[in-house]
């Protein structure tokens, strides 16, 4: 192409004409030249260095925009900042490889499990560190009380609660403490997921994270170069993004009754994908139009859309441990 635009004499001397015996050059499709690839990457592993810092920045931005949930978004920004500080402090500590990794992947299970909580002593330290670093000066009394009761709890009790949060069985009487435990789990699992080999990961099931088996928090239409406008689901626990075919329900796999609803007056980039087969919905963020969208932060910020779509009789098939409703 460069030669096409160059003026003057052709600088490249003509090479000898190919001998008749030489085979014609093999023609192969080269889609990389137009910024696409024959297949999109199946997973994009989290980068803990950036994940929480960028989320915190997004939450702060959203909180500043005079949002009705501004106070809560500011609180979550403080949580995300603490998560970032914890992962930065733990960056030097090597990530423990789960002992049962080969058994699990060999049997079609996601490689990461609650072994992080049960067997890894670093996780308890991580959670303690997170609770210590949280800046709750602007938070309501209930949030501060939850933090102190969690710090006063025995290590066994904290571990037990972390196991329940990992399994998605949130004890209703300890919802506030669950949020802090979930924040700790996000840091621990993101660190573990980042250490995995992306090429070894296989699809586990529809709407199940291939790294940790977690539920998706939201669906993103991304704008990255090799996967422009492909859809990725974002894990609610480890932050992994994995590819899921578009216009196909993330919960039941049906493609027939899919619709997209949004509040156009609020934002055209945040929608829900609804399915009339299973009556489920999942947040659907057009990150290719607004790269600032963060699955966790914008799921919380678009809670108004949840309220509206619930009136239509759809239930959330995603899970955001930072906003259970």
């Amino acid at each position: 192409m460069a030669r096409f635009f160059r003026r003057g004499a052709d600088p490249a001397p003509e090479t000898d004409p190919p001998s008749p015996a030489a085979k014609p050059r093999e023609l192969k499709p080269d889609p990389d030249r137009i910024g696409i690839s024959g297949s999109v990457p199946f997973v994009r592993l989290p980068v803990p260095d950036r994940l929480f810092a960028e989320r915190a920045r997004r939450l702060r931005d959203l909180a500043r925009q005079g949002h009705a949930l501004g106070a809560y978004l500011g609180f979550l920004a403080a949580v995300a900042e603490a998560q970032d500080a914890v992962q930065a402090a733990a960056a030097a500590i090597p990530v423990a490889v789960p002992a049962d990794l080969d058994v699990r992947t060999g049997n079609g299970m996601p490689p990461l499990s609650s072994a992080l909580v049960r067997d890894d002593p670093a996780f308890a330290a991580l959670l303690d560190d997170l609770l210590a670093r949280l800046d709750l000066s602007a938070a309501p009394e209930a949030a501060r009380a939850a933090r102190s009761s969690l710090r006063k709890a025995t290590p066994e009790d904290r571990q037990d609660l972390a196991l329940q949060v990992f399994e998605g069985a949130f004890p209703v009487d300890r919802m506030a403490e669950c949020l802090f435990v979930a924040a700790g789990l996000q840091v621990g699992l993101a660190r573990q997921a980042a250490a995995l080999d992306a090429r070894s990961l296989q699809p586990v099931a529809d709407g199940v994270c291939p790294c940790c088996g977690g539920a998706p928090v939201a669906s993103l239409i991304v704008g990255w170069t090799p996967a422009d406008k492909a859809r990725y689901l974002s894990c609610s626990l480890c932050g992994t993004l994995w590819n899921h075919v578009r216009i196909r329900c993330t919960a039941c796999g049906e493609g027939g009754g899919i619709s997209y609803y949004g509040l156009d007056e609020v934002s055209k980039d945040v929608q829900v994908e609804t399915c009339t087969q299973c009556h489920g919905y999942l947040k659907h963020l057009h990150q290719h139009r607004d790269p600032a969208l963060d699955p966790v932060a914008d799921d919380v910020a678009s809670y108004g859309l949840d309220l509206k779509i619930a009136e239509e009789g759809f239930r959330n098939v995603g899970l955001n441990p930072l906003l259970l409703h």
């Binding site: 889609p31 696409i36 024959g38 999109v40 009705a68 949930l69 106070a71 809560y72 938070a139 949030a143 939850a146 998605g168 069985a169 949130f170 209703v172 919802m175 506030a176 669950c178 949020l179 099931a205 529809d206 709407g207 088996g213 539920a215 996967a227 422009d228 406008k229 492909a230 859809r231 075919v245 578009r246 216009i247 993330t250 919960a251 039941c252 493609g255 899919i258 619709s259 997209y260 609803y261 949004g262 509040l263 156009d264 609020v266 929608q271 009339t276 108004g304 859309l305 309220l307 509206k308 779509i309 239509e312 239930r315 959330n316 098939v317 899970l319 930072l322 906003l323 259970l324 409703h325």
Partner: protein, 198 residues
């Protein structure tokens, strides 16, 4: 996704919805009514995305048709955007200039939406039923085949019919293509092509 159902079921069963969820538990319960009031005047806008195949050539690129309106609520839906399907293994979201202008094709005033017939000597097309059109096509095919079918070339059996051609579409499935081939070839037709070279 049974895991997910049990998760949500458990939460609902335990009355998490009544307890106000995370917001209420952390002391932010007052924000929810304010948010609900803020979004109450807004209307949910519905959009549908439908997979389809570009009708132009036999490359058969996948396209996504974006339409507004809800078919189930008797509203008229209208295609408002066409884009390449990023999940389609053939085109990975890309389209050629013809495919990228499909929206004009869909909305074209001269688009053929039903069979029309211009009788010999008449100056105008008039709308006819599918039954009429298919009967007429079948009659003409039969007439032509009866007149021009070549069974023998000397001593050699050839069973060919070269005076009528058949053109397949690009968006056929394997099964449709198989049926088309069997139908057309069993009549002896040799002039048989697909959209590739249109």
């Amino acid at each position: 996704m049974t895991v997910q159902v049990s998760r949500r079921g458990l939460l609902k069963g335990l009355g998490a919805g009544l307890a106000g969820g995370t917001l209420g538990a952390l002391g932010f319960g007052g924000l929810e009514p304010a948010l609900a009031a803020a979004v109450r005047p807004f209307k949910l806008a519905q959009m549908r995305e439908t997979r389809n195949t570009c009708p132009y050539c036999s490359v058969a690129c996948g396209v996504i048709l974006y339409s507004l309106g809800d078919k189930s609520k008797n509203a008229r839906s209208a295609v408002m955007h066409v884009e390449g399907d990023p999940d389609h293994p053939i085109n990975r979201g890309t389209l050629c200039p013809k495919g990228a202008s499909l929206l004009d094709f869909v909305r074209s005033e001269t688009r053929t939406k039903y069979p029309q017939y211009r009788a010999p000597g008449a100056t105008e097309f008039k709308r006819v039923s599918w039954d009429f059109a298919l009967d007429r096509i079948a009659t003409l095919l039969k007439e032509d085949r009866d007149r021009n079918f070549v069974a023998k070339n000397g001593d050699l059996t050839v069973n060919r019919w070269t005076t009528t051609g058949f053109l397949g579409a690009s968006a056929t499935t394997n099964e449709t293509a198989w049926l088309t081939y069997k139908t057309v070839r069993s009549m002896g037709a040799l002039v048989f092509d697909n959209q590739a070279r249109v």
